[in-house]
Assembly symmetry: C2
Homo-oligomer: 289 residues x 2
């Protein structure tokens, strides 16, 4: 599945045939994180050096790993159908050794929020922002048959926050974007306030570039329609997610947004697997046009 790895950068943890292609689990010494990092790749049938596949990066939510989105969302069968590859990221550095990093589910291990911490001691390793924006795309495009000019991003909850923020900051890098139940305005909800004050400090002006709603308000937009699915029985809807705030900002910014509310659906992967097909169709319309 690896196109070439002359420098032996990757350790292959497992590879499995799946839906006509292959899903593989890898680790590598990340220069950005300063630690061994895990990620996973699904390559559809037929991708080669000469015929590279478009790719969607998957960002999962709190407590997840690089495996969660791939195994629980049903995403692979639809990516395979469209000849789209997938790159699944871990949710934080592992083993950074920061005191307290394993004490709560919403901070530290499993909760990297896809940003670069600036406060010590977190800033030594908690640098998932640069990892997602730079190192992982560069590494995977070099070693796998991926077409980096056709790259989308999708996430759930904390990963939805990550997908929106990265796409709004670098729309030329991320050609398509969608999210399930994203944290759209972390600066004003408990999960985000806890993470941002810890990783970035109390100066809220430093938070703005890590908040999708504030990015819209600052003039960042994405040239495509953003697709967001949200369950109306989501237990975190009013306290942590608040898609209405993003929707209002998008209207003011002229950002095309398709926000769908789904009656009775909650925050789980049972929700995601119910609507994942539409997300792949959304990305495919842009990436395989």
């Amino acid at each position: 599945m690896i196109l070439s790895d002359p420098g032996k950068e990757l350790t292959v943890r497992a590879e499995h045939a799946c839906c006509g292609g292959h899903v593989g689990f890898y680790s590598h010494a990340s220069r950005t994180l300063g630690l061994e990092a895990h990620f996973a790749v699904f390559m559809p049938a037929g991708a080669t050096q000469a015929r590279r596949a478009p790719v969607i990066h998957l960002l999962a939510g709190l407590t997840c790993t690089e495996e969660t989105f791939l195994i629980k969302s049903n995403v692979i069968r639809f990516a395979a159908r469209h000849g789209i590859a997938l790159v699944a990221t871990d949710t934080s550095p592992r083993g950074a050794g920061v005191p307290g990093e394993d004490e709560s589910y919403d901070l530290g291990t499993g909760a990297g929020f896809y940003l670069d911490a600036t406060r010590a001691p977190w800033n030594a390793h908690y640098r998932m922002g640069s990892y997602v924006a730079e190192e992982l795309p560069e590494l995977t495009q070099r070693l796998f048959a991926l077409d980096g000019t056709r790259r989308g991003i999708m996430g759930h909850s904390m990963g939805g926050h990550g997908a929106l923020v990265h796409a709004l900051r670098a729309p030329q890098a991320w050609k398509s974007v969608s999210a399930f139940a994203p944290i759209v305005h972390p600066a004003v909800v408990p999960w985000g306030e806890k993470a941002f004050s810890t990783y970035l400090g109390q100066d809220r002006s430093a938070w703005a570039r890590h908040d999708a709603t504030l990015l819209l308000e600052a003039g960042h937009t994405h040239p495509t329609t953003i697709l967001i699915d949200q369950g109306d029985a989501d237990q975190f809807l009013q306290t942590q997610l608040r898609p209405d705030l993003f929707s209002n900002a998008a209207a003011r910014a002229g950002q095309a947004l398709r926000l769908r509310h789904h009656k009775g659906y909650d925050h789980s992967y049972w929700f995601i697997q119910s609507f994942i097909e539409d997300h792949i169709t959304h990305h495919a319309a842009i990436l395989t046009a």
Copy 2:
């Protein structure tokens, strides 16, 4: 999702909207196991007391729980499409307190082999055979909108063994049957020899009714075609699974069998999710005809 539970037999652990229907996780005091038991149910949209849904029982493999097959196989989307319900069984009693039951992955907890143990101390609680054949179908049909006259069974690995054995022993109860990478002849492979000698004792004549290949040889058949998918890169193919032994016995018994070998696929749920749609189509053709 529960049709009625006047005796308050069930504890609802969680219920989630999924693919237009609902998936729920329940526990109850099992009289067969003498312990609290877990199971899960997917009910498709539109099933009511007056319009009951056909149902497929799912049996998972070693180390799994009642959640594994549902979340990792992609099965729900296809069951929903055909209006078919699913009942997912746990793989063993939990907390039976038998010395050694937690020491190995292939015996005891997570490894009940869907049979009734006859040897002490296992026989006090390890009675998954009667639980799958009698208590769980009776309970779920009484409390959910299921049509017990249209009931199929499907499993993976140890659960494939369970599905084949239960369907061959009671073809009038289980109208359709399929398996992924089943243990087809446990009496002659290490997993089965370890489990059978522990649960049933050394007298191999007592093993025959728990072995799908021996059941075929004893004259048990199923009136429908049995569908089996097997990966040819399955790490357990030659040591534990041996579908060729079942295929030979089926030919001698006149049992219709569709055994498909898949190049490059292994024993994992990545394999199952690649071919699950065909299994639901197979069951639907019988159960919804």
